[in-house]
């Protein structure tokens, strides 16, 4: 049993955790639930040795443990699988799994054979059917996740902490992950599972711990609660269900049309004969599994791969020949990217600067910056998008994920686009902010913007879309108007027929 007793942690000026106590039992999966900023990650970082300074104590199997660093925590049997994977892309699976604990022969040289064999055994156990010498770079994100789990298994960890393990993997891969978790549970491991996806927790978790503002507000077993109750405990109040009542989109004029878009990269057909259109005021949802071509489609429309694809893309009847995102923004197309840390934010610059970045020239005067106009602009979006920040000079890296997303959205909206594309708009964002973003999307559509939302979360697609386009292996495998769309049909269309 892993027991946390009165854990407290403060950062300069902020109390991140206060008096947190909980028990994680062997052979059970405990869901750690809470909004962004509730203290989940901080707690897990203490448990896994990332933060060595904290109040309170941790007991593992009845004995107090205190880790100076993650390696020590691993040696004592606690492994964490981070949201951002910690693998080295140019090393093989074996090399990654044994990194820092390589097996050696009696000469002190690497015992590659033994390591390869043990890796192969682990991969077999986890049903990952690739050779142990495969480079991490060549694996899909879901497969990389499995490698992380293999690493934890190699360590014979008693406690395995999973931080948002499904945020980057496809539905099919999620199933495999669930099987693995079942197996670990049967072996009597202690599993802590952090996720924003409540449906997932109801399926996989036995117990739950709810954190709010750095305190434990409730613990219990999943059987005794339902979806709404959990949300109430997280947020501290009810969230009104989103009403989606708009029908006028059908009648509106065509804004964006894509005809016979083909993209062949090397011998891989990334997109094949994609044809669709988007109307003014319409929210078009695009759903697909990992590798279906969702992001690739957006990138083509945005001009990120000029000259590599064929087909016809028109905006308001005008043929587009975009050579760069810069051209796209000028034409009126803008993208809120999937990975906000990698592609969206300039983390070291402040909120104001991040918002004004795309339109500096048009709000400038005589070729110089106009800081007054910048402040006005940022103030406007801070209010209209309800960005929570102490001030506009705050570096965006210090904002929560949801507010960071809003900053990027503000930057995109500032360009006064005709078509707004959002790639996984709520990845890693808590329920409350998620709903706010859905509301914003629907409001924006009312102002005659055309909106494309790409997502791998079905509930999300069903919540916001007027029409749903399903991609499968680079092709359109189904189009569903909102009225007749349901989860089963969409999933059926999304799953490849031949595996």
């Amino acid at each position: 049993m892993l027991v946390a007793e009165k854990i407290g942690k403060r950062f300069t000026g902020v109390i991140a955790l206060h008096d947190v106590s909980m028990q994680l039992r062997p052979g059970r999966v405990t869901a750690i639930i809470g909004e962004n900023g509730a203290g989940k990650s901080t707690l897990m970082k203490i448990l896994s040795g990332v933060y060595a300074e904290y109040e309170g104590r941790i007991l593992l199997g009845g004995r107090e443990v205190r880790f100076a660093n993650p390696k020590e925590a691993q040696e004592k049997g606690i492994s964490i699988i981070h949201q951002e994977l910690n693998l080295i892309p140019d090393l093989s699976i074996t090399e990654n799994i044994f990194l820092g604990r390589e097996l050696t022969d009696r000469w002190g040289l690497l015992n590659k054979k033994a390591m390869r064999e043990r890796t192969a055994a682990l991969l077999r156990r986890l049903k990952l059917n690739v050779p142990p010498d495969t480079l991490i770079r060549a694996l899909k994100v879901g497969q990389q996740q499995v490698v992380e789990i293999a690493k934890a298994l190699l360590l014979e960890s008693q406690v395995i902490i999973m931080d948002e393990p499904t945020s980057a993997i496809s539905e099919a891969e999620v199933e495999i992950l669930y099987d693995i978790i079942e197996q670990l549970r049967a072996e009597g491991k202690i599993i802590a599972y952090i996720s924003h996806k409540l449906d997932e927790l109801f399926r996989i978790a036995d117990d739950f711990v709810v954190l709010r503002d750095g305190r434990v507000t409730e613990t219990g077993t999943m059987k005794t609660v339902d979806h709404d109750a959990i949300v109430r405990k997280m947020v501290g109040r009810d969230i009104a269900a989103l009403e989606h009542h708009r029908t006028q989109a059908d009648a509106a004029e065509e804004l964006l049309s894509v005809t016979a878009l083909d993209w062949q990269a090397g011998n891989k057909q990334l997109l094949k004969n994609i044809t669709f259109s988007l109307r003014r005021g319409e929210v078009l949802g695009i759903f697909g599994l990992m590798g279906a071509g969702r992001t690739e489609l957006l990138e083509c429309i945005l001009g990120l791969h000029p000259g590599e694809h064929t087909g016809d893309i028109r905006l308001e009847g005008q043929r587009l020949d975009l050579r760069s995102p810069r051209d796209a923004i000028r034409a009126g197309l803008v993208l809120v990217p999937e990975d906000r840390k990698k592609d969206g934010l300039i983390p070291g610059l402040d909120v104001k600067t991040n918002i004004s970045l795309s339109i500096l020239r048009s709000i400038g005067r005589n070729g110089l910056l106009n800081s007054k106009a910048e402040v006005t602009l940022a103030e406007h979006y801070k209010n209209s998008l309800r960005i929570k920040t102490p001030n506009l000079e705050q570096q965006v890296r210090h904002l929560s994920g949801g507010n960071q997303q809003k900053v990027i959205l503000a930057r995109c909206l500032a360009t006064d686009p005709k078509v707004l594309m959002l790639d996984e708009p709520t990845r890693g964002i808590d329920v409350n902010t998620k709903n706010e973003i859905y509301k914003l999307i629907l409001e924006l559509a009312k102002s005659s913007l055309g909106i494309i939302v790409v997502s791998s979360e079905l509930p999300e697609i069903l919540t916001v879309s007027d029409r749903i386009l399903v991609l499968c292996e680079g092709k359109i495998s189904g189009v569903f108007p909102r009225a007749t769309a349901n989860e089963d049909d969409i999933l059926k269309a999304a799953i490849p027929k031949t595996i």
């Binding site: 990217p337 969206g344 795309s358 500096l360």
Partner: protein
């Protein structure tokens, strides 16, 4: 946007405080240090490094590096000297082009800009890493200098030209004027223009900057061209001060300039730093050099001490950013 808000107040002035302590210590150790004459001396000595380092700061802010500044300095200085003295003669076609003073200066700046542009073009068009592209330029421009000068200094360039390096204007050395104007223009560029903002954005997150509609390649080419122009400005200054273009002028200048940038608190991974920080860094190096000479410290020890100061400044910087 207040770019200096990167660091809390105390650490923001840490280089300044370090400089102050250094000056107090030196004035106690040597009565020759704290004199007006020596003050101008230091400022004149650092003026070339200030100009080059301002360009280097812009390059480093985009997460790049420019190793070719010393060689570009030498080549543009040599071009200026050669054109001024000999013009361009083409006996086979009975052609001779003479250059006025202004003409030579413009020509030298154009040469610097062209070589800087070439750096930027290699880096953006062919994706050559900045370290490699400018390392190549370091030898290319040095080779061009040797070809142009045939390995001999070009000397005796006339009083007018020498005025740049040795003259005074309104009680201030011309060299100091040049570096002051360079610094002011650079501060305006960085703090008041979209281009300056783009430089920080690219260094902070290039991919995000691209998706925000910033023309990454154009900004980088401009930045490396500015780096080349400022190296050429340095070339004119050095040549004029010595009244001679030396084929091996500017050797290792890139190292002094990177040192100034680093001591000034600019992050080599880009996106964080200031022009004024670099100026302070250059002054610290200059004062240190000057003080060690006044104290009769052996030149060998001077190098050791300079290296240790670079390490110390980066360590202090790291410790501060950990606390923040």
């Amino acid at each position: 946007m207040d770019l200096s808000s990167y660091r809390p107040l105390l650490t923001r002035f840490q280089s300044f405080i370090a400089l102050l302590i250094l000056c107090i210590a030196l004035s106690l150790l040597s009565n020759k240090f704290l004199t007006i004459e020596n003050g101008w001396n230091v400022l004149r000595q650092i003026s070339v490094n200030v100009c080059i380092s301002v360009g280097m700061t812009l390059v480093v802010l985009t997460a790049g590096i420019d190793l070719s500044v010393g060689s570009i300095l030498a080549f543009s200085g040599a071009v200026a000297a050669g054109l001024l003295k000999n013009g361009i003669a083409w006996p086979a076609h009975d052609l001779f082009i003479g250059f006025t003073l202004l003409g030579t200066i413009v020509a030298a700046l154009v040469v610097g800009a062209a070589l800087g542009f070439f750096n930027g073009w290699m880096i953006t068009r062919f994706k050559v890493p900045p370290f490699v592209a400018t390392l190549a330029m370091l030898t290319i421009a040095r080779g061009l200098t040797m070809l142009w000068t045939r390995g001999y200094p070009i000397s005796s360039l006339g009083a007018k030209f020498d005025y740049i390096g040795t003259g005074w204007l309104l009680g201030i050395p011309v060299l100091v004027w040049i570096s002051a104007v360079t610094v002011i223009l650079a501060v305006i560029l960085v703090r008041k223009t979209p281009l300056g903002r783009y430089i920080y954005a690219i260094g902070g997150n290039e991919q995000a900057a691209r998706l925000s509609g910033i023309h990454i390649n154009r900004v980088k080419i401009i930045v490396y061209s500015i780096g080349g122009i400022l190296a050429a400005v340095g070339g004119i200054m050095v040549t004029s001060r010595l009244d001679s273009a030396q084929p091996n002028a500017g050797t290792n200048y890139e190292l002094d300039s990177i040192a100034a940038v680093v001591i000034g608190g600019t992050s080599l991974s880009g996106g964080r730093g200031t022009i004024m920080g670099t100026v302070l860094g250059a002054i610290i190096i200059g004062v240190l050099n000057n003080g060690l000479v006044l104290l009769n410290v052996s030149p060998f020890w001077q190098q050791v001490i300079k290296g240790l100061v670079i390490l110390l400044s980066v360590i202090v910087d790291k410790m501060n950013s950990k606390e923040a």
